[in-house]
Symmetry: C2
Subunit: 206 residues, 2 copies
Amino acid sequence: MAPRPLTKPRKDASQKRSRATVDALVEATARVLVKEGFDKASTNRIAGMAGVSIGSLYQYFPSKEALVAAVIDRHQRDVQRAVRAELAEAMNLPLEKAVRKLVAMAVKAHRVDPKLHRVLAEQIPRMGKLEDSGAFNRENYASFRDYLERHRDALAVGDLELASFVCVTAVEALTHNAVLAEKLSDKEMDALTDHTTRLIVRYLKA
Amino acid sequence: MAPRPLTKPRKDASQKRSRATVDALVEATARVLVKEGFDKASTNRIAGMAGVSIGSLYQYFPSKEALVAAVIDRHQRDVQRAVRAELAEAMNLPLEKAVRKLVAMAVKAHRVDPKLHRVLAEQIPRMGKLEDSGAFNRENYASFRDYLERHRDALAVGDLELASFVCVTAVEALTHNAVLAEKLSDKEMDALTDHTTRLIVRYLKA
DNA sequence: ATAAAAAGCGAGCCATTGCTCATATTATAT
DNA sequence: ATATAATATGAGCAATGGCTCGCTTTTTAT
């Protein structure tokens, strides 16, 4: 039995040279996605932009999808890093403060490489089951539900599942669209944060 | 000057045979988009599904984009037809009734061929300037703003531009996501309509 | 020093894409 | 009936896509 042909893509990059190659490929994928869009992001182009041969690309990534998945993964890590601490804090605040903090968090999250975020948001749905992709949102969703449950008494809504859906969906859409508009000043973003907070608080509060 | 070579795509389909061909192509495009997704929707496949030769396709549509644009156009006409009358009615109702009607309208609009709607919603942003595409939304947006202006006294918000953005974005996202979830019963959809109405009304009302 | 393993290379295969064009068929007008 | 315009056809081209494979270079281990 041959010692596993070299052409089957490996996953591990044991030497630092190869780790650099992998990083360059992920970075190049993100850059190409933003600059050219998903359709024009061919593996050859990505390899070129990374300064790496197409052969090397396929040593570490079995497919174009795998490459995009790696970019998504990295992006989500970045967002999580920017946000996780604050999320924990918010859990112990009273309703209005908590909501305001969550909205601010959502804005911050969307401001981590917004152009990449846009491309990914457009592409993820059609990539079918990219299992991890929803995990982050699901986690935030669960956290929020949890918060509502703990503060049940202060709320005027009975169905917390539905309430979570309403709040998370609305906040996500508002911040997403606002950040993508790009032309918004800081003052306008503050106004939006105020309004979004008010929207959610009034909806929830008894 | 040659009498315009036959290979340059025409636009008009003067005989009914050709009108049928055009219809079949638009219909086939919609069907392929839904069944195979945008990436797999090649012109050859579309022509095949329409039972029309690839040559004929290019007599009426200069490009794949034109085909998709025609589908978008047709879909938007369908939605408008399903909704326009009610929109006018809503304009003369008091706040809560009006909002409830608008939310119900949004649900109805999203239920016109939801699978097609999903594909189009994913694809339109990346088709760059597909000018007419936003027109429908912009019209609804303007109508809503108009309503707010006329009922200014009953509202607790000053910035009507921002308020319109908040309301339209939230309602659109909620109905869009809810309809795409697909697994929702009528009862659940009613609950969602209630909650969405409440969300908007509480946000707006003094 | 040397052999083996790891990493890198890129010409090129094969499938598919959007699309053209020379030709054939059908409709309309006289 | 016949000429002309309208419509339909599909083989096939040029471009591009994802990806493989035989090979070279670099690193690591002994």
